[in-house]
């Protein structure tokens, strides 16, 4: 056990810190629409400098480094005031594990280097927590499938080139057995974008996507017909991990900003708790990434991590509100945005159901 950087880790950190210091002027001061709009350029810059896709396979543009390097990346990005790394890990894992070699070779390099942008079409207005009830259909027509349906909470749908889509290919099969996954082009006239404005005013993070006869080649089905659910489960399991999302360092950055803002005033109890929870999450992410060195599977533990991450973000949100009141637009936005953390990527209630059934063995309700 040693929480310090190894010599290799320290060298990587120094190299990254140096690169970041040369770019300090490029970092956005605030979140909001401008922040989300700049993600693509940031993704490509990070990758071009060799600082993105650290733990992913070299043949697709990654670096095959141990998972702990992602923590170093997140820490240094937050320390420099840079944007967090793009959260793509769950898409890479989903396509990497369930896609054919042909699909992996075609799509993973562009996903990882940022030249092609992606969104994920899972949730629907009538299929939120109950994802398996989704009704978007994909019907075989010649060499293509034709897609009809309505997706929602689709991050980056307005800028995406590709969508990893979950659709029903067998209307007679029960629930999740009738679902298949596709890589569908977003550049089609039969796809309509409708923005969603979130409670903090941001409109560019989430979208709604309407598919009205959009086409996808059958060769771009991920896995076999009816195997979409397995991919979906891989993705949501990875989506739930703070280690994947890289948020813990971002919370720490906000806490430090709040402390600086408080100046000579003693920190409020809200702010101290935000500090405590943020440090807890930081040690937790380090423990989880270390456990991966043993090849630990991604199981229901991700739901525990998601709860801890959610509580931390919402505690930090309360501290932001306590320090800034409603008069500071940036802090108000951070507070309002924190409310979505207990919903996105699976609600806290769903996480608790998973934990109760699969970790505690309490039986389904």
């Amino acid at each position: 056990m040693d929480y310090r950087d190894s010599p290799d880790e320290a060298a990587f950190r120094a190299r990254l810190r140096d690169w970041l210091s040369q770019r300090a002027g490029d970092f956005p001061a605030a979140e909001g629409d401008q922040y989300w709009a700049g993600q693509a350029a940031w993704h490509r810059a990070l990758h071009a400098a060799g600082f993105f896709g650290l733990s992913w396979p070299k043949e697709y543009g990654g670096h095959e480094m141990p998972p702990v390097y992602d923590v170093i990346l997140d820490e240094e990005l937050a320390r420099a005031g840079a944007r967090p790394r793009p959260s793509l890990g769950y898409l890479v894992q989903g396509l990497g594990r369930h896609g054919s070699e042909e699909l992996r070779r075609r799509f993973l390099p562009g996903m990882i280097d940022g030249t092609e942008r992606w969104c994920q079409g899972f949730s629907e207005p009538e299929a939120g927590s109950d994802l398996a009830s989704l009704t978007t259909s994909a019907v075989k027509n010649g060499d293509d499938y034709v897609v009809h349906g309505h997706k929602i909470w689709t991050s980056y749908s307005d800028v995406a080139d590709w969508c990893l889509l979950l659709a029903r290919t067998d209307p007679d099969a029960r629930r999740h057995r009738g679902l298949s996954a596709f890589v569908i082009s977003m550049h089609q006239p039969s796809i309509e974008q409708r923005p969603l404005q979130m409670i903090n005013g941001v409109t560019t993070e989430f979208g709604q996507v309407l598919f009205d006869g959009a086409r996808v080649p059958a060769s771009q089905m991920v896995g076999a017909p009816g195997e979409g659910w397995a991919l979906a489960m891989t993705i949501v399991a990875h989506e739930r991990e703070p280690a994947e999302l890289g948020f813990s360092a971002r919370y720490g950055k906000l806490v430090r900003d709040l402390v600086a803002r408080a100046g000579e005033r003693p920190p409020t109890a809200d702010l101290i708790w935000a500090h405590v929870e943020t440090e807890m999450l930081y040690t937790h992410v380090r423990r989880r990434l270390s456990e991966r060195l043993d090849g630990m599977a991604h199981g229901p533990e991700g739901s525990l991590d998601k709860l801890l991450m959610t509580w931390t973000e919402q505690t930090v949100g309360h501290a932001a509100l306590a320090e800034g009141g409603t008069g500071d637009p940036e802090l108000l936005s951070a507070y309002l945005y924190s409310r979505s953390q207990s919903v996105m990527g699976g609600t806290s209630q769903i996480q608790k159901n998973i934990i109760a059934a699969r970790i505690l063995g309490l039986g389904a309700s």
């Binding site: 056990m1 310090r4 000579e264 003693p266 101290i272 929870e277 709860l307 801890l308 209630q349 309490l362």
Partner: protein, 307 residues
């Protein structure tokens, strides 16, 4: 960076857990017999066997044997989870101040802690280490451990370095934090076990979300506590002394809150039974309250390192 326990540390955890599970109290009744009262009941026999087994491990002298804060915390956690009711925390912290041939515990603020069967206590006053005799038992919240008055005159023992004092303070915070976490784990397991057997409205209560969700929150709080404690335990010997104390205070503040919450949930899940003396849930809660008050940390102490 590697936050994993070593194979030896995992073995130590397994051994401590096995000892606690086989000889720790299984019920509140198991706690009631007092080995001093000569009633010859079964419990005195159990506790005597536990004492003999713990003494044979030499875990009370982990520090003078060169073990790190991580090992001290591992044993403390498993012993609290199993409500071990013979001394460990006091002697292992005393040994962390100075090795001794006579069974010795520590005294804090004029009170000797964890004194069952122990007649000598070490006190730290600044850098000065002094020894006292253990006097009359004091009433306390903890049903598994005994505290006592100290009796003078205080004997000067040694003067120890500032760094030793600081690292020992971090160790004391970490050991009591491990006690908090272990007690929380025990209380949580007790509640989950009950939720799987207790039925109402025709179903096991654990199948109701009103019961299962607080238990799910509890295990998440426990996992967060494991992570924050592990870092603090490592820091006792490996970080700069000030950083070690900072990490230990943060861990203790977090775990004191999570452990109390988990114990309160355990009482609630047990319903009316959970509010009776005969349910072990309050024994865990009491151990948590005692460990919180021993080397207490105020929130402001965590905050003062911020600005």
């Amino acid at each position: 960076m590697d936050a994993r326990l070593s194979a030896e540390q995992r073995d130590l955890r397994a051994a401590a857990a096995k000892l606690a599970d086989s000889l720790g109290p299984q019920s509140v009744l198991d706690l009631s017999g007092d080995d001093d009262d000569g009633d010859g009941g079964d419990d005195a026999g159990r506790r005597a066997r536990l004492e003999k087994a713990v003494a044979a491990t030499a875990w009370r002298t982990l520090r003078s044997d060169g073990a790190s804060g991580v090992e001290v915390a591992i044993v403390a956690e498993e012993f609290a989870r199993g409500l071990v009711d013979v001394p460990y925390l006091g002697p292992v912290l005393a040994d962390g101040l100075q090795a001794s041939s006579e069974p010795t515990t520590i005294a804090v603020d004029g009170v000797a802690v964890d004194t069952r069967g122990i007649s000598r206590a070490l006190l730290l006053d600044g850098n000065s280490l002094r020894a006292a005799r253990v006097g009359d038992v004091r009433a306390g919240v903890d049903l598994t451990r005994v505290s006592a008055e100290i009796v003078g005159p205080l004997q000067p023992v040694a003067v120890i370095s500032a760094e030793h004092v600081n690292r020992w303070h971090a160790l004391a915070l970490v050991a009591t934090t491990a006690d908090l976490l272990g007690a929380a784990r025990g209380a949580h397991a007790l509640a989950c076990g009950y939720a799987k057997v207790r039925a109402q409205y025709g179903h096991k209560i654990g199948t109701y979300q009103a019961v299962s969700h607080p238990l799910a929150e509890g295990i998440a709080l426990i996992e967060g506590s494991v992570s924050v404690l592990r870092h603090a335990a490592w820091a006792v010997d490996e970080a700069a002394p000030d950083d070690a104390i900072r990490a230990a205070r943060l861990a203790k503040v977090y775990c004191a809150r999570t452990a109390r919450t988990v114990c309160e949930t355990s009482i609630q899940v047990h319903g009316g039974i959970g509010n009776t003396w005969d349910c072990l849930a309050h024994v865990y809660l009491r151990r948590v309250l005692a460990a919180t008050e021993l080397f207490p940390v105020r929130l402001e102490e965590v905050g003062c390192g911020l600005s």
